[in-house]
Amino acid sequence: MSKTRSLISEFFDKYQIDHFDDYIRLGGFKGLKKALEAGPDYVIEALKKSELRGRGGAAYPAYKKWSSSKERQAPTKYVLVNGDEGEPGTFKDRDLLDKDPYKVLEGLIIAGYTIGAQEGYIYIREEYELIRQKLTEAIAHAKHHNYLGQNILGTDFSFQVKVYTGAGAYVCGENTALIESMHGNVGRPRVKRPRVSEKGLFHQPTMVNNVETFACAATILAHGADTYANAGLNGFKGTKMISLCGNISKPGVYEVPFGITLREIIEDIGGGTRDLSLGKFVQSGGASCALIPYTHFDTPYTYEDFDKEGFSIGSGAIVVANGNIRVVDYLSSVTSFFEHESCGKCTPCREGTKRMHEIIEDLCRDQASQKQIDRLNQIAYTMIDSSLCGLGQTAPAATLSALKHFEDEIMESVVL
C-alpha cells in the first residue's frame, strides 16, 4: 500500500505539453471549468473547506488571502506566482512546473478569475532556465486552445500570463524583494508599507502565492474540497508535495497526506537511509527551519503537530542527515548559506548572519568559547526579533534548534 497520494501530482509524467488534447482527456483543467461555472465565491469556499495554506513556507490560509484580494476595489490587479524556490533541499516546485505546468497555469487562471485580475506573472528562479522555456511554450499552447487570453472558454474573463526570470538571489523569494527585482532594482526587501496586496507589482494590488498553492487550488476545484481534504490522515486535511533528499535511498518529490509521520516518510516512502543508520536528524522545511532529532521522528507531519514542537512544514523540504554527521558541520552549511544570501539591508541580518557563521566555524574547529555560545544566542534572538524580513527572522532557527536538541554534542566543541 503506497503511502503517497496522487492528487496534486496526478498528471506527473503523463503527458507532453504539446499534446494539449491528451491533457484534457486525462482530466486536465476540470478545476478551471468548475470555477468558471460556479463563480468566485465558490472558489473561496472550497479553499476554506480544504484548509489550504500557502505552500511557500509562511502557511497563511489561502482562502483569506484570495478573499481579501477579491474584495479590494481596484481597476488593475495582478496575480504573481512565486517560483523562486531557493530553500536548500527544496525542488518540489521544480517538478510541479516541469511535470505538470498546465496545472500550475490552471491554478493561476482560477486565481485571476476569483480575485478579478487581468494578468498573471510567473517568477522562476534563473537556475530553472529550461523549465522557464517549457512554461513559455505551455502558455502558448494554452492560449492557442483558448484556456488563456481573451474570453477564456467562451466567458467574458480574459487573462494573460508572462514568465519572468530571477538572477540568483534566495532573498528574492521574499515577496517585496521579488517584486523589486521585477522592477529592475536590486532584490532587497522593502518595509511593508504599503503591503504588496495594496501596492505591489508595477505599483498595483498584487496577490502572491507559491507554485504549489496554485497547483493545490486547481486540484481542489477539480476534485472538490472534500475529496482533497479526505486524502489526509487521521482527520488532517489534504496533501503536501515534499522533496525528500540527503541521506536517503530514494530521494525525490512525493505527494504525502498530512498526518503521515516522518518515520513513514523516511522508511516507507524514502526506502530508508542510504548509510543504513537511523539518520541523526532531519531538517524539515528548508535551511531556515529547525532540526528534528531522530527522537522525534514519530511526529505527525502536520502544521499543528510541528508548530507545537517548534518544527516547520515550511517549503516541504525534508533533508535527512547522515548518522555520523557532526551537527556543527551541518550548521556550517546552513550559516554559510545565509551569510551568502543575506541582502545586506538591515543591520541584524547583514552582520548577524556573518557573525553566526564565524562562531559556527570556530565550533567546527573545536576552538569556540562559552562566551561565543552566549553571543550566538544573543545574535540569534536579535535577528529573530528585529530583522526586516523573513530571511533574517528565520536564519537562526536551525542553530537554535541544534543548541536545544544537541546541546551536549555542540558543547564538546567549546573549549572555553
Binding site: P88, E126, G166, A167, A169, G184, F202, N247, A287, V319
Partner: protein, 159 residues
C-alpha cells in the same frame, strides 16, 4: 567590450528598452558574452540606453549571484556547496575538479576553457552531488562521470 553594440541593442529591443526589465536584460546580455561576463563598458552602455545611472546598473550586476563579477571560462562549472550536496559528499567532486583543472573556486584555467565556482543550492538535491556547467545540471556525479564530462567538453571545444 566582449560583445558588439548591435547584439546589445537586440537584447534591449527584445525588452522594449524598458528599464524595469534590467535584470533579464543583463542576464540575456551576459549569456551572449563568450566569457559570461558583463564588462564595465557594456554595463555603462546599457545604462545609457535605458536612461539609468551607472550605479543603478552596477547595483544590480553586483547583487545577483548569476551576474558574474569576473570573466568566466568557456565552460563555467558551478559546484553546489549547500547542505544536501555536502551530505552527499560534493567535496569529493570538488577536490577532483580542483586537482584536475589545477584551479581553486573563483579561478579560471589559463587557456580560458574552464572556470570553477561554488554556488548555493540550485534544486538538484535529489540527484546530488550535482554541478551546473553553463547552466546545464549534471547529477549523480562520480569522479569517473566528472572526468568523462570534462573530456567531452574539451573535445567539443577543439571542433
Amino acid at each position: 567590450m566582449g560583445i558588439s553594440k548591435e547584439r546589445i541593442e537586440d537584447v534591449l529591443a527584445k525588452y522594449d528598452y524598458r528599464a524595469d526589465a534590467l535584470v533579464p536584460i543583463l542576464m540575456d546580455t551576459q549569456s551572449l558574452c563568450v566569457d559570461h561576463f558583463l564588462t564595465e563598458a557594456t554595463q555603462k552602455y546599457i545604462a545609457k540606453k535605458l536612461d539609468l545611472t551607472y550605479v543603478d546598473v552596477y547595483e544590480v550586476s553586483s547583487f545577483f549571484a548569476a551576474l558574474h563579477k569576473t570573466p568566466k571560462g568557456k565552460y563555467h562549472i558551478q559546484v553546489c556547496d549547500s547542505s544536501v550536496c555536502r551530505i552527499n559528499k560534493k567535496d569529493i567532486i570538488q577536490t577532483f575538479l580542483e586537482q584536475h583543472l589545477q584551479i581553486e573556486p573563483g579561478q579560471m584555467t589559463p587557456d580560458g576553457l574552464f572556470s570553477l565556482e561554488k554556488t548555493t543550492c540550485f534544486g538538484a538535491c535529489d540527484i546530488s552531488p550535482a554541478v551546473r556547467i553553463n547552466k546545464k545540471v549534471h547529477g549523480h556525479l562520480t569522479i569517473q562521470k566528472m572526468k568523462k564530462l570534462l573530456g567531452e567538453l574539451k573535445e567539443a571545444s577543439h571542433v
